[in-house]
Symmetry: C2
């Protein structure tokens, strides 16, 4: 089963910067989509909305070194997939390993989502390093499927 | 076997822009790495060099809608893997589907390469749309493994 994998390094000696960006509604709204609502507690549901639709995620795990979500609402291709964020501090860097697993087929939409995740991870890096991310609708356009 | 997948859309009515950026040494040097040498003919070898090392690719296919390379030199994890570029024109967009297949294991280096490919694809998009890419050593730094 094909997975989307990414790795970024965030230059900061403070591991809480990235963790907060992934474990609070305000943090998520600052790098992924401004229209973020819900609960970041384990068992809670997060609602992410974009011009073209959105995703609902159940929070499955929330620890300092790992955050995991299960997709419970959104496009058919996403339902039942899982998103894992593994964090570790290596000196002055917070290293983020990202995995979006459980895709049934490597469809063209998966190619789009892979590139888009990479672009949003750079927004997360920017947020944690500089205080400013590029959350939707201010996100970088990668292709003709992107909607402002 | 895990693959790296990406999709970008390049806003241009002229499909030759992206094709030239992938099928000429000058084009490749303008978005991937300035230190590019070799032959883009089928059966030829391309040599891409970066601060941290490089890759040698044998050109396996070179058609208007598909370019494929086989990795014959570089890091162990890359040897024997294949890179495919599928191009199609959708109105004012050249859609690029990218696949780097044949990775034996989803190692941490593969996560890095996935994000880095996405970033370089945005450089390719910029080159074809504006005339200016961000080839190495002017590439975007994504993590602590990136070297200028």
């Amino acid at each position: 089963m094909p997975d989307i994998l990414h790795r970024i390094g965030v230059r900061t000696p403070d591991p809480s910067k990235v963790h907060e960006a992934l474990s609070t509604v305000d943090g998520l709204a600052a790098w992924w989509t401004e229209d973020t609502k819900g609960s970041t507690e384990v068992g809670g549901t997060l609602e992410f909305r974009f011009a073209a639709g959105g995703f609902d995620m159940e929070v499955v795990e929330s620890a300092p070194s790992r955050i995991s979500w299960n997709v419970v609402g959104g496009p058919d291709e996403w339902i039942g997939t899982n998103i894992h964020w593994d964090l570790r501090q290596d000196g002055d860097w917070t290293v983020v390993l990202f995995k979006h697993e459980g895709w049934r087929e490597p469809v063209e939409f998966m190619h789009h989502c892979s590139t888009k995740w990479g672009s949003y991870l750079m927004s997360l890096k920017s947020l944690a390093e500089t205080g400013t991310g590029a959350a939707h609708p201010h996100d970088v356009r990668i292709d003709d499927w992107d909607q402002a």
